[in-house]
Amino acid sequence: MKPKFGVVVFPGSNCDHDAYYSLKKVLGYQAEFIWHKDKDLKGSDVIILPGGFSYGDYLRTGAIARFSPIMDSVYKFAENGGVVIGICNGFQILLEIGLLPGVMIKNESLKFVCKDVYLNIENRENIFTKSIKQNILKIPIAHGDGNYFTDEITLKELEQNNQILFRYVSSDGKVNSESNPNGSFMNIAGIMNKKKNVMGLMPHPERCCNPLLGNIDGSLIFRSVAKHFLN
C-alpha cells in the first residue's frame, strides 16, 4: 500500500506545496493538504508539519501554531504511535507542543542562513533512516531560529535513548564548529521522541527530492518512511 502523507497548512506555512509536490508528483505517494482549523487527519499514515513562518513566528517560533485545532489531533495521533515529521518551522512547533524536547533560539550569528549542509545519520534503528545506505546526507537549511538548546539532563536522555538523529558535519563527516550553521547544541540538526515515531529536523528534505534539481538526498528520508508502510 502506498502511504498517505497529510501536509498540514498553517497561516504562514510556505513549504507546504514543496512537500506536497515532492511526495506526490516526484515520489508518487498519496498526499493531501490538511487545513490547520480542521480536526480530521483524513486517514493519513504520516503527518508532515511543513516549514514556514506560522502565525508570523510572533512571540516564539511555533508558539501559536501549536494551539491550532488540528494540533490536538496531531498530538493524539503521535501519542498513539502515528508517524509525524516536523520540518524547520514544523520542528519548532513539535518542540513548543512538547512532542519533542528542547527549544529553538536565534542563530548564533543572528543571520538567516540559507545553504546546503551535511548531516550525519546518527541512528538507524528507526523508520526515518532505516533503509538509507549512505552515512552523510546533503540537504539545504533556511532558517533564522535553528539554534537547538536543551538542558544537560535532557541532552543526556537524548543520548541515552538514541534520540539524536542528525548532526551537522563537514562533507567528510567531522563534527566541528565550522560545520555548525546556527550554534546548535552538540551540532544537533534533528531529533526523535523516545518511541521514535515523531521526528523533527531543521533541514528541508522536501527541497531535494527531484533529480532535476541535482540532489535527491532528501527523498531518501521519505523513501525510508514509505518503505515501512509498504512492507
Binding site: 512571540l59 494551539f67 533560539i105 538542558d151 550554534g183
Partner: protein, 83 residues
C-alpha cells in the same frame, strides 16, 4: 477590569544572541560600563473581570501556556484594577 503587564526574561544560562549584538552597539557608542545586555519581552493586556483571583489565574495561565516557554524563560507580572 484589570490591567496586566507581563515581563518575560530569558533564563540567565540561556544564550541571548540579540542582547550580545545590541551590546556591541553599546560599545561602539562608547558605553564601556554596559555589561550583560539581555533582551526580553514586555506584554500588556486587560482582563475583563471584577474578581482579582480570576484575573490573577488567567494572567498566570496565559503567561505559562503561551506567552513564555518555561524551558528557557521566566516571567513576572503586575495586575492593577482600572475603571
Amino acid at each position: 477590569m484589570f490591567k496586566a503587564t507581563v515581563i518575560i526574561k530569558r533564563r540567565p544560562k540561556i544564550l541571548d544572541p540579540q542582547g550580545k549584538a545590541v551590546e556591541q552597539g553599546a560599545k561602539l557608542l562608547g558605553f564601556n560600563n554596559v555589561k550583560q545586555t539581555r533582551i526580553g519581552k514586555y506584554i500588556e493586556f486587560f482582563v475583563d473581570t471584577t474578581d482579582k483571583k480570576i484575573a490573577e489565574n488567567e494572567v498566570r495561565e496565559y503567561s505559562e501556556k503561551l506567552l513564555s516557554n518555561p524551558i528557557m524563560e521566566d516571567f513576572v507580572y503586575t495586575l492593577e484594577e482600572v475603571k
